[in-house]
Amino acid sequence: MPMQMLPLRLPAPLLAPTYRGVGPVPRAARVAWQVCLGAAALLLATGVATAQDGLANPHEGNRGAVRAGRALFETRCAECHGADAKGISGPDLTEMFAAGRTDGRVFQTIRAGIAGSIMPSSSAPDDELWAIVSYLKSLGTVSPVEFATGNADQGRQVFTANCAGCHRAGRDGGRLGPDLSRITLSRSRAGMTAAIRDPSDAMRVGYRTVTVVTSDGQRVRGLKKAEDAFSIQIVDTSERLQGYLKADLRAVQDEAESLMPSFGPDRVSDTDLDNLLRFLTSVHEGNGAP
């Protein structure tokens, strides 16, 4: 991958002491890296994490790094991962921190690439990579303060009664909808509320409602997982994965309405919603997380 030379305006604290321009990683940076590795080796010896997991982002909390990282991301990564980082040919990166990735792990993945895939390695200076890490982390993390109120035990009852048929949280739940075990790490309170109150407004790829009508008139409703000009792959409401050749179907009907019903205040009160979000947060805080 050709290195993109950006007219970067990194904030001063970001430039010093390891970054002085574009080119090979300066010796200071390499030394810093080795020091980090040494620290990580200690972690390794205690079985806590692998070497790269233990690395801390030197620009943690620096808003300038987030801005710089965004600019870098748009030039170098967006072609595959999308300008919004939600993925095109490469994967969606907006929920990886919620899924448990560490700063150090993401840094090392950008540095080394992914063996056997199209994701290349990078020889850009450490600070540029850390800036990209900062940006990606800013996309996919939500302050736990947002979900601090509510009663988790009552929230569990709301979940069991309304959500568990299709969603999993911790060890229990259904398979049709997304796993919600770590969802409040990456979705804001406003986003979660909208998705529960008006799910049809935000159907994601892989979760769009479709009905296929077979040649004998049977209607099968489910979620569209993939489609091309000749075939369609769905998970139907009985959780059955099934592919269909369009030549064998009478119709494929895309639907504007989500398979998930709307849970307005009449079905889930504001208090119940508060409790539910608190419960989902408690799941990844260690209460029943897988």
Binding site: R101, I114, G116, N162, A164, Q242
Partner: protein
Amino acid sequence: MRVTRLVALTALVAVSGPVGLAAQEPAGGPTQAQLLEGFTDPSRWPTFSGDYSGRRHSPLTQITPENVGRLTPQWTFQSGTMARGRGFETTPLVWDGVLYVTGPNNYAWALDARTGRKFWEYRRELPDDLTYGASAPVNRGFGLLGNQLFMVTLDAHLLAFDRTNGNVLWDVELADYRVGYAATMAPLVVNGKVIVGISGGEYATKGFVDAYDPETGERDWRFYTIPGPDEPGGDTWPYTGVRERGGGGTWATGSYDPELNMLYWGTGNPNPDYYGDDRLGDNLYTASIVALDADTGIIQWHYQFTPHDVNDWDPNHVPVQADIMWEGRSRKVVMVANRNGFFYVLDRVTGELLLGKPFTDTTWARELDDNGRPIVLNDGSKGCLPDYWGGTNFMPPSFDPARGLFFVSARETCATFIPQKPVFEPGRSSSGGTVWVDRDQAYGALRAIDVTTGERRWEFRYPTPSMAGTMSTAAGLVFTGDNEGNFMAFDAETGENLWHYPTGWSIWGTAAITHMLDGKQHVLIPSGTNLTSFALPD
């Protein structure tokens, strides 16, 4: 209809508690009883070998010697991942029109069997300090039970997935990958347990076979392939301090006899591979086959193919079961075409050796003595044995019970072994020397062995040794591949080549599978980054 029901159900569960929509009509995966049925339902390929016998012999007969010449590709799936020249070495599982496929670098997919299109994809975030897993970043397939899939990883973990969406349900460590362990084999689900083996015999490791609870991931039992000093076989390791790094990996999927409730499993080379002076003795149970009680993991019998192996001939082969007539009476047998160049038939109840005869040109030994021990002529220092990849390797063979023929990719090779004392460090390979392979003399062949005599019925030669497994069918066909990338079909009776298709990459370490779909017999072969499905044209 379904719309109304969905809304009604949602309303219902809102008042009645945890009974969800999905729980009403589960489209379940195989029960343990259905796994026992093996090939009974021709739409399925539910375990690594298709059924528990390890025969990889399908009852399907739509594709015949007469029409196989018209076999046509239906679709190709591209994994997009490959490392160190190693691509697909997997056996896809087939259930209800869906393929469950693992790939290199611990990728995995659920694919539409009609089109090869993806329902979901999984990729494991692997540490960058893998040991054995970095040198062979492959995977041989899933195990399946109910709605759960099981896959082992290059960092030596066992994962359970939800079959519907690919979500990881649990994740347990088998062993510490940093020492040298890795896992690549396809788990075998038996009696409601997930049976797995381990790789890493090129490092200072100690092999084992494990059984896990499919629901919780808790370990039920572990059988170490190297006994303790006071256990039977312990005296075959007279040197102290060697056992804990003695090798004996278990990295090929075994077979299972439900009637005897016995697992049959190949155990790998002792470590160091080539340098044996530090580990004198026979080194049980390395380079052996072991029979284990499936409920407890307790060893029932063993047979060691290569006592004190110094040629890396780890018999990590699928042990193939059959009930055959032997000297006038029916015997339950288990058969192995071994890396050391011998073909073996053993009584699978008692472990008694019935037959042991070379199926390749072996120069290390030509016969076994009365106790079933090889009469060794050459330890490898003089050259021209099977090389360290062996007379065959882990690629699955197949067995046609109607014809009594065992089909195997034979490798005719020649090498000189130069042992050297290694340094033992956790995470550092300790093969103990080097091997000079004489490639000019090497060739490969598909061979059919008459299992009652060990004699060769026929062969078909290739210019270089093949690493492709075989799959046979009741129609009298044998499917296999070669190092040059041809996927081929042969007449099981005569060995005549009936069809070939150049796939573009070596067919390596895996074999074909077959299943019915929409009234058509499909044959699938993984090759390089591709998985291709074939069927007869309309």
